[in-house]
Amino acid sequence: MTCDTVREKLTEYLDGALPQEEMKSIREHLLLCPSCNREYLALSEIKELLGQTFKAPLPEGFDERLHEALLQEKQINRPVLPLKRNAAFYRKYAAAAAVFLVLLISVPAAFLHESKNDEGLREDLPAKAEMLLANGKQESAAEEEGLVSNENLSQPSDQSREQTEKRQAFSMILLKAGLTGTCTREGMGRLYKEAEAPGRKRRRRKTGKIPLHRIPPSGQGDPAGRIRP
């Protein structure tokens, strides 16, 4: 084996990543060739030194902070739940929307003509949608609580505010569904997300990131901490 070939393969030799035959012939070459052997020793030292860097343990309290963040994440993303729950959930509201559609059609034509623009309807109809919802509300509220029970226990006020928000959001969903005729599950899902979006954003901003009680870089046995200015 020539010196050039050996140099070329030193990286893989260092990692023991060559076939046995090649490992053996390089080993033999190194025993006989001081120049290649020097190169090999130098590279081994670098590899060994590199192995000692960035060996810091996880910061203290990392798991706790992550746990908090995960719980928060779970709460924020609650509307995007596994399909099984969503299917039942949407079926319920699709049924309500269908009833509403009938109601809407029975609204005097004159009324529709007068306030043809969306804004007008938005002001007038949520109350009606709300009334309609009141029948099915207990049931749906129970389902909602079932979905959130283990996450929201410590925030009763937040929860009730959210319930109100949600009810308003549903009113809008029913409205839009009634107007556009999008009673399919996908359509409802999209509308639901649209209606939900502002609330979600606000909550995210309010709570923000988990307050992280950072430990100052200790520098003890921690090369990354030590070199921090």
Partner: protein
């Protein structure tokens, strides 16, 4: 993927936080060190790791069981760190253009510091110095070479795993690794030589 891991994954996909935490138990330490190697300080590394793990928790349903969970986690961590670096650079650029400074200071440049005399015992100091010189050298090579050599020599990933984490070919891993070690070696011994002459 073992049966237990599969079950945990199913539960985690359904949103179960505890199952998710068990799943990441084995990878979070290494993931943190990877983040540290990109971002250089505890705080940023923890931020990036937390971001990564939240992303993973959110995106679990997209995880295909044909790929290894751990490799996927590390890949997300690498990408998140790169995003953080990009964001920080933009921030820094804004601050620099504001203050009219044009020279970027390298907070990681430990070489100048190392030339100072120290009262610490010789032997211990030498080892510490060497580690810091290595870090400084690492900082001076191209990022694309650095990440490969860190994943291999610091974290001990195989060529195949590195290829998956960085989304490059194994051949590229080998050639970058070789160039990276060579570059670090040359710089390292040059600095050591200069230090020897000073004494």
């Amino acid at each position: 993927m073992g049966w237990d891991e599969k079950e945990l994954l199913e539960k985690a996909k359904a949103g179960d936080v505890e199952s998710f935490e068990i799943l990441i138990q084995a990878v979070r330490q290494k993931a943190y060190q990877i983040a540290l190697s990109y971002l250089k300080n505890q705080e940023d590394a923890e931020d990036a790791l937390q971001d990564s793990l939240l992303k993973i928790y959110r995106g679990l349903s997209r995880f295909q069981e044909t790929s290894r969970f751990s490799t996927w986690v590390y890949r997300v961590v690498v990408n998140t760190c790169l995003d953080h670096i990009k964001k920080n650079k933009r921030q820094k650029d804004r601050i620099l253009s504001f203050s009219g400074e044009d020279r970027e200071e390298n907070p990681f440049d430990a070489v100048s510091m190392l030339r100072d005399e120290s009262a610490e015992p010789e032997r211990h100091m030498l080892q510490k110095e060497k580690t810091q010189i290595i870090l400084a050298c690492l900082e001076r090579i191209a990022p694309s070479l650095r990440e490969v050599v860190v994943l291999r020599d610091v974290q001990g990933f195989s060529y195949g795993e590195i290829a998956q984490i960085l989304d490059i070919s194994e051949g590229t891993v080998k050639s970058r690794l070789s160039r990276a070690r060579q570059a670090v070696k040359e710089m390292f011994f040059q600095i050591m030589g200069e230090k020897g002459e000073q004494k």
